[in-house]
Symmetry: C2
Subunit: 192 residues, 2 copies
């Protein structure tokens, strides 16, 4: 997605060999117009699937997932990273380790919203080692629902998550795939 790659080149900051900071439009400040375009691009890429729900993880997945929900007219569920007193015990949960934040969280989704038979598009901001997506796939499986695809805003193609998921037969659509990066230059994978 050209406008997304342009934005990453323009305001992204490569902080280390594996950390790409995009706080300027995705993880702290949100460019709402770009998120709308991201939602439309996800809808185009998944135009051949019949989805019933969109599932993401708080917090940075919420804006792109909500824009996809708006285009497709589907409910958007965001998994919680901690249990809240206003969520009941009726939870599907999984453990997710974030290497970037070096923290392990339990993610949870209420059975009230994710149901057996649901056809789910999973959305997340980043795909690196694939930990978050694996947690969300586990939650979908526990619900006896089906993950029809995974939509990622930025995939770090030099880490192994995307490769492993695709080898397992998971359909992963990443709008920008970073194949290599350093302080001076970011190389994106060519996509059709």
């Amino acid at each position: 997605m050209q406008s997304l790659e342009n934005k990453i080149r323009e305001v992204g900051k490569v902080l280390s060999p594996i950390v790409l900071k995009v706080d300027a439009f995705l993880n702290h400040q949100i460019d709402a117009a770009l998120m709308k375009a991201v939602g439309e691009e996800f809808a185009a890429r998944f135009s051949d699937v019949k989805a019933t729900k969109i599932l993401t993880l708080e917090s940075s997945g919420i804006a792109p997932a909500t824009m996809l929900g708006l285009v497709l007219g589907l409910p958007v569920i965001f998994a919680r990273k901690r249990k809240s007193l206003t969520l009941s015990d009726n939870l599907l949960s999984a453990t997710v380790h974030s290497f970037t934040k070096n923290v392990t969280s339990e993610i949870s989704v209420s059975r009230d919203f994710l149901k057996a038979g649901d056809q789910v598009i999973i959305i997340d901001d980043f795909l690196a080692n694939g930990e978050a997506v694996r947690g969300l796939l586990s939650v979908v499986e526990q619900a006896d629902a089906t993950a029809v695809g995974v939509g990622i805003v930025i995939e770090k193609g030099f880490q192994h998550g995307g490769k492993e998921l695709r080898e397992k037969g998971v359909r992963v659509e990443s709008l920008a795939i970073v194949d290599s990066m350093d302080v001076d230059h970011i190389t994106f994978r060519q996509q059709d």
Copy 2:
């Protein structure tokens, strides 16, 4: 806002004298079309102010704030509840206690995005005791920016946050104000 009040009556659950659970469209599952309407209503209510930024708090403020950002063409910043390794030390921060979750968090915003002179609309999902809004106001003040208004999706009018903020001269626009509630009935305040 009639469509919002209808939705609250339809799917909201009164769990205790002070807890209104709206996980079905705002706090866990998101109704994207309703959030778009909420964003448009906020834009209409704040049509007389010249804002430069929108500020909210993860996670449930993100969807309505992003929709407002889309309508107004403004950047949306979401305050983080914990420090992340990919946020630098260049932070504005405040302490916020959530009575619903019974947890105290530090909220933080990068000085890279909230700047001196910014005219800020603060958005949040709920207003009860006003703790989150006070934290966000403190962050705005620390940045030498100005809060031009506070937009709330659901105000619990029987708690004191909204009253205290308005008495201090803060402009608070709440799209639905619950004056009283029990398991059988929710009464909304009449608004022009």
